[in-house]
Amino acid sequence: MTTHEIQEFLAPIRHEFAEERSLVLPALRFAQEEQGWLPTDAMRAVAEATGLSQAYVESVASFYDRLYTEPQGSRVISVCTTLSCMLRGSDELLAHIGNRLGTGGVGTTDDGQFTVQRAECLGACDRAPCLQVDSGDQLGPLTHEAADEIIAQLRADGVPTRYDR
């Protein structure tokens, strides 16, 4: 992601904010769309596009769970394990997915296709136990078989062209 591309993305929304600094989150989200995480080059490009220091941009990015400062799998599977989901079997679901993918729980598969992570309440306790692929719709309530089908579908879909996490 180049500085120029980020600037072009920001140009039409710049007027919506009284202070330029508000553009840093939209810029980071946009920069993350390319590789699904924020390598140093992407942080530098965001800094240049927003006129902020790279250190500042990195300090903001490191605060938020869904801005990734380390490489992630092609698809990030977030399994909600907060109380309502726990009561309906989320820990067993996470264990099942981890065993199925060989991550043994949270982690990234050796082929880089999947990252499995715990999520804090995804706001879908009526679908518990639930998971979310990247920032897609919350899926549930899930049996272990339904989770297998989701994984199979994701394998068939292949690598996404843009990442919305």
Partner: protein, 430 residues
């Protein structure tokens, strides 16, 4: 049953998800009524309706709006809190997914009342699917002239910016939300000044929850008196409860405040528990409130009645656990949540939530000691009330109350060297 779908009008009318469908079902009648009144009279209507903030704190909405100073020479902002992250709460998600135009109309009405030309809807980062729906609804309103240069009449502009968070529970705290919206780490501010006086970019700012704002169109259309007459005098109106956990029909239920008991909500509306199970514990207002037991089932659901039994209505996220659950394990899971979501700014919260998690974790895993209970109790008072925001109080409340009501269970878990509910095999930590 005393269900009244005033915010959840999509449950009464089809096609509210499209602008034409919304208009056909009486959409924008509230806005029309508001535009026919002076802004101050609209503010007064908020006040008379008795509507209280639905995000958790329950502060009277009209009073909050009246705190905004006028003629400051600065812009005035409305920020809609769509950072729905309180465990057990999923009511705003349904509003955004199924009835987004009523939310937009509500934001517009509030903005007209306080003289705001640009409002922001701050939506949590994880609600990517919901953000797409809301962005489309906003675009449709712009195309139809409901938002834009002449939204409030010829030459009277108003527009809404949808701002996506990036994963942080703390951004539901209103000053942390403002920090995030200003492009900073989402950490709460010292108050005062309150956002009404110095909020977004230092300007007067009204911050309200999705459900609060979506309640405004019917209030303006049907009248503040109609709303104020629903339910008890101090807690009028409808409230959406999200019921989850060990119930047969988890879901959202919009009820008239005070007309329904906790028992009716859990057992009649949400289908009750599985055969042969009994209620063990219930967190009635999201996870940040003191827990209730089966002895509290007959409490009416309104702010005062719930406060009367020592808890809070909160966000209305009602988490139910039957007697197959372990209160120590549940408390540990909540402690983990608050430790993970503590922003780290205040030492008592940053360190204290870590200790709560650590102590409960060793109890669950069979390494608890009897004096851990004293240590927990000594921690409560050192964490709560010594910090900038309510997160720490929210971390303490469910655990402190659990220890009060279920002390025997904690003792048993320590004596038996572990929780009676086993851990699934093969899960690595993270």
């Amino acid at each position: 049953m005393p269900i009244l779908n005033s915010v959840y009008r999509h449950r009464e009318f089809q096609h509210l998800g499209t602008l034409t469908g919304y208009e056909r079902a009486g959409g924008w009648n509230g806005m029309k009524a508001a535009l026919g009144m002076a802004p101050d009279d609209v503010l007064y209507a908020f006040h008379r309706s008795g509507l209280r903030g639905r995000g958790g704190a329950g502060f009277p909405m009209g009073r909050k709006a009246s705190f905004l100073p006028k003629d400051t020479g600065m812009a005035t902002y409305v920020v809609c809190n769509a950072d729905e992250s309180e465990p057990g709460t999923f009511k705003d998600r349904e509003i955004i997914e199924k009835n987004p135009f009523q939310l937009i109309e509500g934001v517009a009405i509030a903005s007209y009342a306080v003289g705001c030309k640009r409002a922001y809807i701050y939506i949590r980062g994880e609600y990517g699917h919901q953000a797409v729906i809301l962005a489309q609804a906003i675009a449709d309103c712009r195309a139809a002239g409901r938002l834009g240069p002449n939204a409030f009449g010829q030459g009277k502009p108003f527009d809404i910016t949808l701002y996506r968070g990036a994963g942080a529970y703390i951004c539901g705290e209103e000053t942390a939300m403002l920090e995030s919206l200003e492009g900073k780490r989402g950490q709460p501010r010292l108050k005062p000044p309150f956002p009404a006086v110095a909020g977004l970019y230092g300007s007067p700012t009204l911050i309200n929850n999705v459900e609060t704002l979506a309640a405004l169109p019917p209030i303006m259309h049907r009248g503040a008196d109609w709303y104020a007459a629903l339910g008890p005098e101090k807690s009028p109106g409808t409230k959406i409860f999200s019921v989850s956990g060990h119930v047969l029909n988890p879901g959202n239920y919009e009820i008239i405040m005070g007309d329904t008991t906790l028992r009716e909500l859990i057992f009649d509306m949400a289908g009750g528990l599985r055969e042969g199970r009994e209620l063990k514990a219930c967190w009635p207002g999201g996870s940040s409130v003191p827990v209730l037991t089966k002895d509290h089932l007959d409490v009416p659901l309104d702010y005062e009645s719930l406060a009367g039994v020592g808890t809070f209505l909160g966000s209305g996220g009602c988490i139910v656990m039957d007697d197959s659950g372990c209160i120590v394990r549940a408390s540990w899971r909540l402690a983990h949540f608050y430790r993970h979501e503590s922003c780290g700014k205040c030492t008592p919260c940053r360190e204290g939530t870590g200790w709560l998690e650590k102590i409960l974790e060793r109890m669950v895993h069979g390494e608890g000691r009897m004096d851990d209970l004293d240590m927990l109790e000594s921690l409560f008072g050192r964490i709560a009330d010594r910090v900038l925001c309510a997160l720490a109080d929210g971390a303490v409340a469910p655990i402190k109350s659990a220890l009060e009501y279920f002390r025997d269970d904690f003792v048993k878990v320590i004596e038996d060297r572990g929780s009676p509910v086993p851990e699934p095999m093969g899960v690595t930590n993270g």
